[in-house]
Symmetry: C2
Subunit: 225 residues, 2 copies
């Protein structure tokens, strides 16, 4: 008896989320800000990547970040080292961010930005169903997690736009099989672009920055039409 009710309630929550996500997306488009969300398993290196990327983008771009976690403000503290404006969203026991949390966090912010990053709660399941109004969703996968994660968590890889393989400096130590990883991603999301980088050594970071710059330019040219 409880199963159909639960499904029904979930559907309503999702519908409401989609309405808010659509409003956010309009707001982002109006402000000309390109919004990138990050999803991954805990410990895949989202925060380290983001701290480096915020630092690297700042001479040229106006950037900011929202970061979700169940508990602690650790990630906001780490990201703030980049000198970019950062806000923590604490979700309690909720395993994902929702559009309303993003809307709420942005209430007292002026969106005079080029890039807004939203780091989701570390989870390869829950965040997949929640649209946050973002323009680009990155799914991160560290070489230490194994090549099969896309096959085991297909929904989140399917809901993402781009895959980023992180901690490539450890690839040899863990005998990471690039061909197997490539096959896993492509079988779940054919044609998905895959970046390889190490926030520690900096390898691949410039290539990713170029990709983001290009995406921002495309976004603004579309927004002006």
């Amino acid at each position: 008896m409880s199963e159909p009710r639960l499904v029904e309630v979930r559907r309503n929550v999702l519908k409401q989320n989609d309405v808010i996500a659509r409003a956010l997306r309009e707001q982002f488009r109006g402000a000309g800000v390109f919004v990138v969300s990050l999803v991954s398993s805990p410990g895949s290196g989202k925060t380290t990547f983001l701290e480096k990327m915020l630092t690297q983008l700042q001479p040229q771009f106006r950037v900011a970040a929202l970061v979700g976690d169940l508990a602690t403000e650790n990630d906001a503290v780490r990201l703030a080292r980049s000198k970019a404006p950062v806000k923590q969203i604490t979700t309690g026991t909720l395993c994902h961010l929702e559009a309303a949390m993003v809307q709420n966090a942005l209430q007292d912010w002026k969106l005079e930005l080029d890039f807004l990053f939203i780091e989701n709660v570390g989870n390869l399941v829950c965040p997949s169903s929640y649209d946050l109004g973002e323009n680009l969703r990155l799914v991160l996968l560290s070489v230490t997690e194994g090549e099969d994660k896309p096959l085991k968590y297909p929904t989140i890889f399917n809901s993402a736009d781009v895959a980023v393989v992180t901690k490539t400096d450890l690839a040899d130590a863990v005998e990471f099989n690039w061909d197997a990883a490539q096959r896993s991603v492509q079988s779940v999301r054919p044609g998905m672009r895959i970046f390889r980088l190490s926030a520690k050594t900096g390898a691949g970071m410039n290539e990713f920055q170029s990709f983001l710059s290009q995406k921002l330019a495309e976004h603004r040219s579309v927004a002006q039409i």
Copy 2:
């Protein structure tokens, strides 16, 4: 409006889960089997650890495993290399195992076992609230995920009995800070026992096996009273 309804429905689902978990625990006690569940983030090394542990225990003990995943039977295939009986539970989009799934998977199995292992879906949030009737819950944390995970996912560390730090062969490469990890665990779950091991090199595996043997002996002596 939808929030209280969702909470209410969740409570019912959990209550039903607890009833089944209690029945399972009774069944396990009657059969004299010691049940160990494993929770962790995706890619922390649950399957590798379990494959090695099943192999290592078999000369002396009767062992079997259930393994949960959203999709694929990859883990069951890997665990079956240990020659132990293994069954995959595929959860679809559900981010955790429930007691009813365990009950269902065990229906055609005779519980003539010393140890039954239950590998949960890779997730540091959802599995924490679901009792599976296990006697011991292990939370695994790989050195590559960072020392702060207990602080960021306190509920799952709090719901577990023992912590296992995995992939210790990579500790130097990732500059893992043992003191910080120890402090994180202890601040969330004071007094929690922490094992350090590498399924790759075998370091710490014998110590863990001794711990399990001792737990089994204790379990049986209590069951007989």
